[in-house]
């Protein structure tokens, strides 16, 4: 007898091959049949008119802390993400000595913008110090699969103490780091993360940046014993350095027989040839037999702003920048109320429609993100263009009027400021050597939402600006990801594979609007995006989330490696 039968669905099986109609049978956490399902089943999910796919993999997250209080990694699970890779950017919560917890927490919070209260109130450090103990503690209460990386900076701190952030390692220290890494891999780590660029809370390089090349090579030799991944954050803001890092990762891949991945790679107005050059170098290195996977995020760059403080949004508009730089709120309010100055501001910010979007001045689509007064609540989530049309005004006039009405406390969201050329980004995402990821789920929680990139891949790059077929997009998020990270038995709808499954409406799947959530331990808010068009999410055969009932009690997640 089946535990679950998903019937009448369009099976997008993760292979990239054309989808077909059929049923999926699930028993004891595994897929047991693909095609007509056996009749006897404890539960049936009717997926008529819906796509049925393997659960998605998010390969670049910082959920390490959140998993301590939220075993579902909300809201990633509801987007159909059934496996996450935390521990990126050289940071993991283990291994870590007791007296280093404050140090690591501060570094984590600096790099990933996590609130102090959430860290302090939400993490129960009683698992101890080792990676193995952390993994054991985590595995007891998971609704989502976790494929953890161990952080190079964390290993350095564990072995070298404070010297980790000050000097190269001695030979004996490198040997000890190798032993620690070996233990982490034995405990379930899927690889090592390192960073060439990040800084700590004192603006000093993180420990991994003090490593000599020989230290990284020695650690990669240990990865090579298990064929595990090296993840690196590179100098993404410089084409030449990025190309050099591709070469370095390729040499490590070839020397030690390991896969490597680096993130993020953006489509960038500042460096229009960067993506093309970097991908050309990646192709060259693949031609030599190296495995180097650039990670590209699907979502564009957004900026949230008010008219009360300076923002990068105003940095190309001197009149605006001058006003928002005034010393007091009263002075700023007076300036925005001045009719003559207001006319000048609007004129400066207005460009012909054909230039506006590319210059980040598409005010029509700018969203009212959060209002200060109840009387304006109905405007939240609406576009300035819609409101302006109703009022017969210019969108910028609406923005200024609303802000002045709320003493400049209104928050706006200017989306698609960068990484937003759909043709260029779509081509990157469809590239055979590009790994879709780099979304950074669980980080920057108080600034912007890092969830829903999978939904955005379908809404933007399958439906609106087609760059991938549905089957190809699913393959990128499933079979490709599981193959890149060497997660066996996952990523395909095949008998014997883990029953990580997502049922969704291919015409509707998307990320929802960015909304505020108050679900962090301690004080503070975070910004999230809920799923649209996703209906069922199963993890290892258990229903973890459904559109009708939300999150369930299932704790079928596992450490996967």
């Amino acid at each position: 007898m089946l535990d679950v039968a998903i019937t009448n669905g369009l099976l997008v099986d993760g292979s990239g091959l054309p989808a077909f109609r059929g049923d999926l049978g699930i028993a004891r956490g595994k897929i047991v049949s693909v095609g007509p399902a056996p009749v006897e089943t404890k539960r049936t999910i009717d997926a008529a008119g819906r796509a049925v796919a393997p659960g998605f993999v998010d390969p670049h997250t910082l959920f390490d802390a959140q998993l301590c209080w939220d075993p579902e990694a909300r809201p990633s699970l509801e987007h159909g993400v059934t496996s996450i890779v935390p521990g990126n950017c050289s940071l993991s919560l283990a291994p870590l000595r007791k007296d280093q917890r404050g140090r690591l927490s501060r570094m984590f919070r600096q790099i990933e913008e996590m609130p102090e209260a959430a860290f302090d109130d939400g993490i129960d450090w009683r698992w101890g110090e080792s990676f193995e103990a952390w993994v054991e503690a985590l595995a007891k209460n998971l609704a989502i699969n976790v494929a953890p990386l161990v952080g190079h900076s964390s290993i350095r701190l564990f072995v070298m103490g404070e010297d980790a952030a000050g000097r190269a390692a001695r030979t004996d220290e490198v040997r000890r780091m190798q032993d620690v890494l070996r233990g982490c891999l034995d405990a379930g780590a899927v690889g090592l993360s390192t960073s060439f660029i990040d800084i700590d809370e004192n603006l000093r390089p993180v420990p991994s940046r003090y490593a000599h090349k020989s230290e990284l090579a020695a650690l990669c030799a240990v990865l090579g014993e298990r064929g595990r991944m090296l993840q690196a954050v590179h100098e993404f803001f410089d084409t030449e350095l990025t190309v050099a890092r591709v070469d370095q990762l390729a040499e490590l891949s070839l020397a030690h027989g390991i896969p490597t991945t680096f993130s993020p790679l953006f489509q960038n107005r500042a460096f229009p040839d960067m993506a093309e050059r970097v991908l050309a170098r990646v192709e060259e290195q693949w031609g030599r037999g190296a495995r180097v996977w650039p990670q590209v995020q699907t979502r564009p760059i957004d900026i949230s702003f008010t008219l009360a403080q300076r923002s990068l949004l105003f940095i190309t508009m001197p009149s605006w920048y001058t006003v928002v730089s005034l010393a007091t709120r009263a002075e700023k309010l007076a300036a925005f109320r001045d009719p003559e100055l207001r006319r000048r501001l609007i004129a400066e910010a207005t460009l012909p429609p054909e230039l506006a979007a590319a210059a980040g001045r598409d005010w029509e689509s700018t969203l009212v993100r959060k209002v200060a007064h109840e009387r304006n609540r109905a405007l939240e989530g609406r576009r300035l263009g819609e409101i302006a049309a109703e009022r017969g005004k210019d969108p910028l006039e609406v923005m200024i009027e609303l802000s002045v009405d709320e003493e400049l406390e209104t928050w706006f969201l200017r989306s698609r400021l960068g990484h937003c050329d759909d043709v260029a980004v779509g081509a990157m995402l469809a590239h055979p050597h590009v790994h879709v990821g780099a979304g950074d789920g669980g980080a920057h929680v108080a600034s912007f939402a890092t969830y829903g990139d999978t939904g955005y891949l379908f809404s933007r790059f399958v439906r609106e600006a087609p760059a991938l077929r549905l089957e190809a997009a699913v393959k990128k998020l499933t079979f490709d990801a599981c193959s890149i990270w060497e997660l066996p038995g996952r990523g395909l709808l095949r008998p014997g594979y883990a029953a990580d499954v997502v049922v969704f409406d291919a015409e509707r799947i998307d990320r929802g609007p960015e909304v505020e959530a108050r679900d962090l331990p301690g004080a503070g808010i975070r910004w999230v995006r809920h799923a649209e068009g996703v209906e069922w999410v199963l993890v290892n055969g258990s229903i973890a989330w459904s559109a009708a009932h939300g999150y369930g009690d299932a704790r079928a997640g596992a450490i996967v490696s």
Binding site: F237, R269, F271, I301, G360
Partner: protein
Amino acid sequence: MTAGALAVIEDAEVSAGHDGRAEIVLRVRYPNGASASVRLDEEAAAVVLDGAGVASLSDLRGRPWHVLAPARERRG
């Protein structure tokens, strides 16, 4: 020393930053023709504009590299 003998800021753009955050990227051109990129977060960019006495990113173009120095010292 004249500005001609110094590295100068050649270009400045709002750009995609780490993990999808908006940042500023400046291209600095050295007297020998070589160039390098410098990235500034929002706070550092404001410090640099204040220090240079300008109100627009485009006004940084042509300025000598040392207008960027205050950004490194902002947390002193």
